[in-house]
């Protein structure tokens, strides 16, 4: 299957599952549930859940395991969505546009936007511990621990704290790397790792996929920096040029656009190299790496 078709098929699988698992208005918590749904069903690309499923497919073709991992991939998307809602808040990046629509706090108010993020984050762990899953219990606990670490104080949330503190301050390239690695990289890498654990990867396979996850996370962030600097608000669906406005250091601010493009390509190559021991089973992951770079062209 060509990568574009693969992405479409998997995206639909994730959308359907999110609609199946996500809470619906129930006459009691309507405002809260609507606020969560507003951002969860806002047309995201579903990259993290797809990475989770594609990593699992590089390890196993057991349909039962792959099916159970859909729940995990939905949980990861809930966590990603919560992070966007909180990042956009007035006290953070104060952004009014996300995925071509007004941000959550513009529509639902600041209090409800904070709570929508809190709700999605908590709900993710409800999904991960859903008693209907048939994944081995030990693997499920490992996945929960991995995701909590990646999303937590020394991962995504810690990275956002560094990012906020770095605004309008001169930071070193080393600090920028640390922000990227924790704020964006950790959740992307753990999406791949969660798929690997759920699929029953060997230690060697897990190591390959972890390296892939690290490099693809970096590639993704460099491309994001590039797009913020070179694309338009219309094409991005979120305000372009925000990094510069907020005085945020980025890859282009350190290296310029051309060199940044080379660095993105380099990260993509590293990601693909890491997959070599997995052979042809990792084809979709390889193509996904190329696809991420193509977004910049």
């Amino acid at each position: 299957m060509k990568i574009k078709e693969y992405l479409l098929v998997k995206k639909q699988l994730v959308e359907d599952a999110l609609h199946r698992f996500m809470l619906e208005s129930d006459g009691t918590f309507d405002d809260h549930i609507e606020a969560m749904r507003y951002s969860l069903f806002a047309g995201g690309k579903r990259v993290r859940p797809i990475l989770c499923l594609a990593a699992a497919e590089a390890i196993t073709d057991n349909p039962r395991l792959l099916n159970d991992l859909i729940l995990v991939s939905c949980a990861i998307e809930c966590i990603h969505t919560y992070s966007l809602i909180h990042d956009d808040l007035p006290a953070m990046d104060n952004d009014e546009l996300r995925r071509g629509r007004p941000t959550n706090h513009i529509v639902h108010g600041e209090a409800e936007a904070i709570l929508a993020g809190d709700g999605l984050l908590t709900f993710a762990f409800e999904l991960l511990s859903n008693p209907k899953s048939d994944l081995p219990q030990l693997n499920r606990l490992q996945i929960i621990n991995l995701i909590a670490q990646a999303a937590g104080p020394k991962g995504m949330v810690g990275g956002q704290s560094l990012d906020i503190a770095g605004e309008n301050n001169d930071i070193s390239f080393e600090q920028l790397q640390r922000i990227h690695k924790s704020k964006t990289g950790a959740l992307i890498r753990c999406s791949v790792q969660a798929g690997a654990i759920g699929a029953g990867a060997t230690d060697e396979e897990f190591t390959c996929l972890s390296e892939y996850g690290t490099s693809i996370g970096l590639a993704f962030q460099i491309v994001d920096d590039l797009l913020d600097a070179t694309s338009t608000t219309e094409l991005l669906g979120k305000t372009a040029g925000v990094d510069q406005q907020l005085g945020k250091a980025t890859y282009p601010s350190f290296f310029g656009v051309e060199k940044t493009r080379d660095l993105a390509l380099n990260a993509v190559d590293n990601a693909k190299q890491a997959l070599i021991p997995l052979g042809n089973k990792a084809k979709q992951l390889t193509d996904l790496a190329d696809y991420i770079y193509l977004r910049t062209c």
Copy 2:
């Protein structure tokens, strides 16, 4: 052991464990970790973790199980602390005093306070899935699911959303009960239930303790409403009279102070009734129920 002494001993146990498990500044995420620690070590009464441990002791005296439950009780305290940080935010109750000290956002800024809450919530699930725990895997997954549900969109977060929406609006007593049950009651009840599951309670024991948890959660909230209406800021360590200022419905606003006192006593009695089948093993839980009422006298 008398209840006051019991509470002191258990509180110290929880404090020590929180200090042992909680992240320390590491040179990278210092601001974030300090903001989390600021609220976590602010002199809380540790009621929820103590309820978790006391419920477990009503079921088992196995020291290994009781020891492993300390991790669970710390996770619950992290979730409780995150909820206080977010409730105090300017977009929510906009409170400046908590436990006799300036609230998190006053000291660490609004962005970092939001992130400190996010970090504590996520870290709670890292603790709950800590690979060092010896609790049976199935029980651990059940506890995670229970806590995620109690803290999530149809529990604590959903309740906070209802609470915010109810400010300055006429709400019915039925709506007030719904807010209390979800916002405060759910996490208190699940603290008791988590202890029960971790201790290997039978279905019958779990049912008794769940009923106890429901009633004690209600008693706790009624007493909280009473204290807000009748106590002073100095005694409470947080701003007194806030409910009235925010136009929030409370038990005293529906029933007056005297009748509310009766209702608190009634809830305490129900809690104690639920424990009867457990016999003398539940003595500390019984005394704890009485102690909650004594706060109002």
